[in-house]
Symmetry: C2
Subunit: 333 residues, 2 copies
């Protein structure tokens, strides 16, 4: 194909959305926008992993309800998360009688699942598709770094994995809602970052590659969008992205750029170092705050870039660097 940007002729619509978060997120600046807030990150479950399953299940149920749908209406569900074997995704859809596609795109999974859902709906392979993802601070720290119970010190470049989940229902030709006209599938980009406490730096090059490619292919400029929204680069990664885009690609996105990891927390008042991260970060922000602002017509054109660090603790210990990926979903109203 000559053009990497895929145009979706039927303009698939986001007809339902749901979000669900934990304690720290519900104390942050956009807490009033979430559908469901838990005051305890244990979510009444016996493990952090089961707590994350609960978050994801709730987000999917809320999204279905808001689209007047049930599990039986889902033709294909796309879901993934950060945990090994994508446990929350598989278990949330277990015995739900839903054709299921499990994904691994690390923190890029909200954009990634949305773009596959829109592709299958646009191609009439599904009438109703669901895209969903989750993350949990405690299950992620335990798996990727140290169990939180150890109380290990955190670096100022580190980000707080969001305890949260988001889900969308995608359908064809529902013109009254937010729709997706174009998408771009990311590439695996690795510039050699090896610091697992600096995910923003590992993901920024992939985000820059995808954003510059999208703008070039669509012959658009940053000012053509109300917001260029990255998933979870945080404070450090956002600075790197903007610098890299100006210096290497000639695009200045600073006037319209924001990052879900900077929106979900109060970086001054909450102890979150460089900001939020994790699949649940962009999922919960997009499926609440951003969708509400779009439905209010405060935002009409949003370029959403799901950013993921494809980090494996095992291969990192074997000396490998951390590849990044960034998938793009354009959202219009």
């Amino acid at each position: 194909m000559n053009n990497r940007v895929i145009e979706l002729k039927s303009k698939p619509s986001l007809t339902g959305f749901g979000s669900c978060v934990g304690k720290t997120e519900s104390e942050g600046p956009i807490s009033q926008d979430f559908d469901m807030c838990f005051s305890d990150d244990g979510i009444n479950q016996s493990s952090w992993e089961k707590a994350e399953c609960e978050l994801l299940s709730n987000a999917v149920e809320i999204a279905l309800k808001s689209a007047n749908k049930s599990f039986d209406d889902i033709d294909i569900a796309f879901a993934g998360d950060l945990l090994n074997q994508c446990t929350p995704s598989s278990y949330s859809f277990r015995n739900k009688n839903v054709p299921f596609c499990g994904l691994f795109g690390a923190c890029s999974t909200m954009a990634y699942s949305m773009l596959l859902a829109t592709l299958t709906v646009d191609g009439s392979y599904a009438d109703t598709a669901v895209a969903a993802t989750s993350s949990h601070f405690c299950s992620a720290e335990k798996q990727f770094r140290y169990p939180v119970e150890y109380g290990s010190q955190r670096s100022p470049t580190s980000q707080r994995t969001v305890t949260g989940a988001g889900a969308f229902v995608v359908e064809r030709n529902k013109k009254q809602k937010v729709f997706i006209p174009r998408i771009l599938i990311g590439k695996v980009v690795d510039l050699g970052v090896t610091d697992s406490s600096n995910m923003g730096a590992a993901m920024a090059p992939a985000a820059a590659e995808s954003i510059s490619e999208f703008l070039k292919c669509t012959k658009t400029e940053p000012k053509d969008y109300d917001m260029i929204l990255t998933g979870d680069l945080g404070k450090v990664g956002s600075i790197l992205l903007k610098d890299y885009l100006i210096n290497n690609k000639g695009y200045d996105i600073s006037a319209v750029h924001n990052d879900c990891g900077l929106i979900i927390y109060d970086l001054e008042g909450q102890k979150v170092d460089s900001g939020g991260s994790g699949c649940g970060c962009s999922a919960a922000v997009l499926a609440s705050h951003i969708m509400k602002r779009m439905n209010n017509r405060e935002l009409k054109k949003v370029l959403f870039i799901g950013t993921g660090a494809l980090m494996s603790p095992l291969i990192s210990l074997q000396g490998e660097s951390i590849p990044g990926i960034a998938h793009i979903v354009e959202m219009n109203i």
Copy 2:
């Protein structure tokens, strides 16, 4: 959608394929069919994980070459594997300049990646798509059970994870080759199996659900296919599948059923317990032995069912059972 089976109007073709295996597989009954055999499972790498990356990279390169393509020709690559964070898949496509979709479908990944590749090609979202997957006995045992260096005892229901990889190139309207007319996306089915040494039993119910649904929706019978080929149920799972289909669904597939886990090894002469398993099992068998038999017109109609146990060692320790999934790709010539 009223019908779960998706018909692919453009009949996407498998224009290239490649397979690559380790020592035990190259000593098995179909060794002459593989494109590349390694006599040492270390594949000249410093870790089992890096050895698996090497297997997958080689399979993809062979598949591309056989289709007269290069990495630059790939519009979308779909790949996944068994390792945490899908390391072999991400690292095989790292900095290769290829739009990349990472998947997690456990051992179902060959069928799963093929069906997504055919969907995107059929919908004209890609002209050339790649589907690929791998597994490695030592990296899988280390992650899911015990490092092989421990020499732990194996149960007779256990299967040997295949050290191998397979890859396909999918294109539109190339009528001279094997093509894919129909697919079915599996559901997450869990009947409560908790024995991580009996993956066949965990996957058989999902395979039965998908096969009976496919036959029902397409109004076909087992005798309409030259082969109904499951991915890696092994000896125990194959018996369970056939019994379950006769007793619960009324379909007798015994005359045409075979399983890649029974084809790749000599169950009498090689110490492989219940047979082969892993993403690489069906991948290596399909991308060699089966494709050669189809291209020779020995087989004209094959129903390939990728079977996966979505097992998480962590959630198993927390008392959960093992869900299964089975995706179907119909292959005709």
